[in-house]
């Protein structure tokens, strides 16, 4: 069997490379936003806000490329799934960028107040969602649906950690009203991180759709 449709195959490979580049940008945004939050690094937080435009521009570029592929090449089967899946990937990667910006804004706000004591659960949550995103991206690069399925089950832990942060913050606020304002921002930060976990799960679901043609949206549970 010969490889046919060389030009189209090259375009799909180009799309794949663009997606990997966008995923790398999102991964860096999460790494920087979480580090900025945990280390109270305002310069890094500002750079996360600034760099989000690059992620947004990349989404626009990939959208235009996908539209062109659909209109001009009439893809079928695995190619069609790849293009539809890539649309899902870009939407979710772009939203991850937005959540990083939100997290960076929490960091910038909290930096204007006296620091709260270290929060081990937030540290765990930061590490956990980073791991989820890294695995989601790897599952796409390696076309590894078994790995993608693992991410679905990791989302449960992110949800639990987020809930624990919330409960802990509420009980702290009850004891010490001075820190209510800061605690609200911590709760919001944990929510941004939890959303990043959800979005990483969406990425994993898109990988499963691309590879297997199975739509596991809303069914991908731990």
């Amino acid at each position: 069997m010969q490889q046919q449709r060389i030009h189209f195959t090259q375009k799909l490979e180009e799309l794949r490379m663009q997606l990997i580049r966008m995923a790398a940008l999102a991964e860096k945004a999460v790494a920087d936003a979480t580090r900025a939050y945990l280390e109270n690094d305002t310069d890094l937080a500002e750079s996360v806000v600034m760099n989000d435009t690059v992620i947004n521009d990349t989404e626009d570029t990939i959208d235009a490329f996908n539209l062109e592929l659909l209109a001009l090449d009439q893809p079928m089967a695995c190619d069609l799934r790849f293009i539809i899946g890539s649309m899902r990937l870009t939407v979710n990667l772009e939203r991850i960028g937005d959540e990083c910006v939100n997290l960076a804004h929490r960091t910038l706000f909290l930096s204007t107040r006296s620091p709260l004591p270290p929060n081990a659960r937030m540290e765990r949550l930061c590490a956990h969602v980073q791991e989820m995103l890294a695995k989601a991206i790897r599952s796409f690069v390696d076309e590894d649906t078994a790995l993608a399925s693992q991410i679905c089950s990791m989302d449960h832990t992110a949800d639990e950690l987020c809930l624990k942060v919330l409960k802990e913050a509420i009980s702290t606020m009850v004891d010490e009203t001075r820190i209510v304002e800061r605690s609200v921002h911590v709760i919001m930060a944990s929510r941004h991180l939890e959303r990043i976990g959800d979005l990483a799960t969406n990425l994993a679901e898109a990988v499963i759709f691309i590879k297997e043609g199975q739509n596991v949206k809303h069914r991908c549970k731990g």
Binding site: M1, Q2, Q4, P75, M76, A77, C78, L80, R81, G213
Partner: protein
């Protein structure tokens, strides 16, 4: 459960020593459009022509296995081939109107079958031309030569000619491959209309056309049926790698 109109079991076909079809098992449900796809020489047109025994005309052609229409063996001894072809009509790749008037083209099959009543013929010509979505364009020129029609109109005339004898199954061998996009669209719309009354089996090289018009799709390769299924499944996530390679254009 859907009624199976045409069915083949272990169908083999030989052109002399060439084994063109291998053990094809395939069912066609009533009022469904089934697209037969595959690269040139894969056997899809051969299979199509088995259904109304068009291959009988080829020297050295040999069929084995079973092919049934409504449960009756198409190749049983004593089957009247003319009667079979009245029940199983066919439209070819290139429009092939007779060098006669539009009216006579449509009435031809009825006349061959002994219909002489002018009123019956008139009614049948009109209903067949309406069925083929050609009545409005042809009603004022029924006595004009069919050869004066455009390619797309000629193809719809051939469909009207096939419809005139009230077939149960319509075989279409690349019916739009010689037509422009507008004429192609009309044929495709017509296929959607006709399936209310007919079972349609269409051979096409256009993946988009197969996806647009058919309910089910069967992929042939090297004389074998590789995969058959719901068209939505075949064109979104086929089970077989060869099917996927073919419909994504990666098949040499």
């Amino acid at each position: 459960m859907a009624n199976i109109k045409v069915s083949s079991q272990s169908l083999d076909f030989h052109y002399g020593t060439f084994h063109a079809l291998h053990q094809v098992d395939l069912d066609f449900e009533e009022h469904q459009v089934t697209a037969l796809i595959g690269p040139s020489g894969c056997g899809k047109s051969t299979y199509l022509r088995c259904i109304n025994r068009m291959n009988d005309l080829i020297p050295g052609a040999r069929v084995s296995g079973q092919l049934t229409l409504e449960g009756e063996d198409i190749y049983a001894s004593g089957v009247d081939v003319v009667s079979l072809r009245r029940r199983v009509g066919m439209v070819f790749q290139k429009p092939n109107p007779f060098p006669k008037t539009i009216y006579e083209n449509v009435a031809y099959g009825l006349r061959v079958n002994g219909v002489k009543d002018k009123r019956v013929l008139d009614e049948s010509v009109e209903s067949s031309l309406r069925g083929a979505a050609l009545w409005d364009e042809a009603k004022d020129r029924l006595e004009a030569s069919a050869l004066g029609l455009s390619g797309g109109q000629q193809q719809r005339l051939c469909i009207a000619r096939a419809l005139a004898v009230r077939p149960e199954v319509l075989l279409m061998d690349e019916p739009a491959s010689a037509l422009d996009p507008i004429a192609t669209q009309k044929i495709e719309d017509l296929i959607h209309e006709l399936k209310r009354d007919l079972t349609i089996i269409i051979v096409t090289h256009s993946m988009q056309q197969a996806a647009r018009v058919s309910d089910r799709t069967a992929f042939f390769y090297l004389g074998k049926l590789i995969e058959e299924g719901d068209t939505r499944t075949i064109f979104t996530h086929p089970r077989n790698k060869q099917t996927e390679d073919y419909i994504t254009g990666r098949f040499g």
